[in-house]
Symmetry: C2
Subunit: 233 residues, 2 copies
């Protein structure tokens, strides 16, 4: 009798390539892409896209990271990124998705800059940190605030990881393709009304500083940095 097959398989159905697989060979992929004779582009609908990084090894997110909001609200801006939380990989979706809001009305939103680490990045200097970033994309940090703050020592991750609570995408932009990778606009609208707008130059901790906190094997992790320049209320 033979054991069932245990060979690894791409996660996507049919013959579609698995976007996750490319991050394990990122350097080879980018050098190929520079000279590749690419076929004509095929049309696609954005709502058919999944997350650009479907199964990152880690997601870590830096909280209390918006200097404008800190100034307005009287919070002291921390000296180092102390509030580092995670969202669970199971909550990641593409950019167009349906989310079932939990009962009670406590669900909140925050636009995020999402950096995808393409190279192992342990103990990287700030000057070298951008060289480890495969690309940037946008994300939403949905949170069920009642659960996030419940209990004797509130841990954020579960209430930020309900099904669909991590939309990302639609695609990855290489830092090389940006005029100024340290000054990007981030905005969030709800039903046509703009709720947030800010620029990443106002982040307290931008992309490079996370590298100092990066744990062992952070290749293909997501780092999200919120820029909440115009908070509600």
């Amino acid at each position: 009798m033979r054991p069932p097959s245990t060979s690894a398989r791409p996660a996507t159905a049919g013959s579609a390539p698995d976007p996750q697989a490319v991050y394990d060979e990122w350097d080879a992929f980018t050098s190929w892409a520079q000279t590749a004779d690419l076929p004509a582009a095929a049309p696609f609908a954005v709502e058919d896209l999944g997350p650009p990084v479907p199964r990152p090894r880690q997601v870590f997110a830096i909280g209390l990271n918006y200097s404008d909001h800190a100034a307005e609200s009287g919070f002291r801006v921390p000296d180092a990124p102390t509030v580092i939380f995670t969202k669970w990989v199971s909550c990641l979706t593409g950019p167009v998705t349906e989310v079932v809001l939990p009962d009670g009305g406590h669900t909140d939103w925050e636009v995020e800059l999402v950096a995808v680490i393409g190279r192992l990045a342990r103990s990287v200097s700030e000057a070298d940190a951008w060289n480890h970033v495969a690309g940037l994309t946008a994300g939403q940090d949905l949170s069920e605030r009642a659960g996030q703050l419940a209990g004797p020592s509130p841990q954020f991750s579960l209430a930020k990881s309900l099904p669909g609570f991590g939309p990302t995408g639609p695609w990855l932009v290489s830092p090389d393709d940006l005029d100024d990778r340290d000054d990007l606009e981030l905005a969030c609208s709800i039903n046509g009304e703009q709720m947030q707008k800010g620029r990443t130059r106002n982040l307290v901790f931008s992309v490079p500083p996370w590298s100092r906190r990066s744990p062992a094997s952070s290749r293909c992790c997501l780092v999200t940095c919120s820029s909440r320049a115009r908070p509600r209320g």
Copy 2:
């Protein structure tokens, strides 16, 4: 010009099978195992074993979960598992490992019961929850306490996920092979001195209750339940 290969590959080197792959076909595996004509056992050294689940989709851990300790210390035992934190997958190792302790001497330890979810387990009833458990193993929840409690809203995950901070194993035991899966001894010794000893019947939240909190895609996640019956000091 051809793109670089992006096919999925087992994570382990050479021809060794990838233990992770079996969890995607857990039912097929267990029914095969019941009648398989297994070859003669081969000797191995425990220190050569990696983690029984090298790349779980999630790790979630239930804190404040030891009724004896709560009674001793005067803490109120919570009504529901409110302190749910995570350890990052990158910190998982096999049972025999070397860990570089961070400077400052704040590293602490706690023995854990680790349950591996073998079937999708969203909104499972408590009565059915054990049927979703592929197996149990032991784990250590190493924590760097200063980092764990730092900042304005301490988030545990990073300080519990430094390199090597999640030893697990040596192997998975099927709940069917246990006389009483709800009453297991857990103990922890340091340099021959027993620091913890307890039984899982004293867990406030044992294996079944996690199922109510289980997020969307929790197949192949780890759930750890601490039993700290004899705390230090």
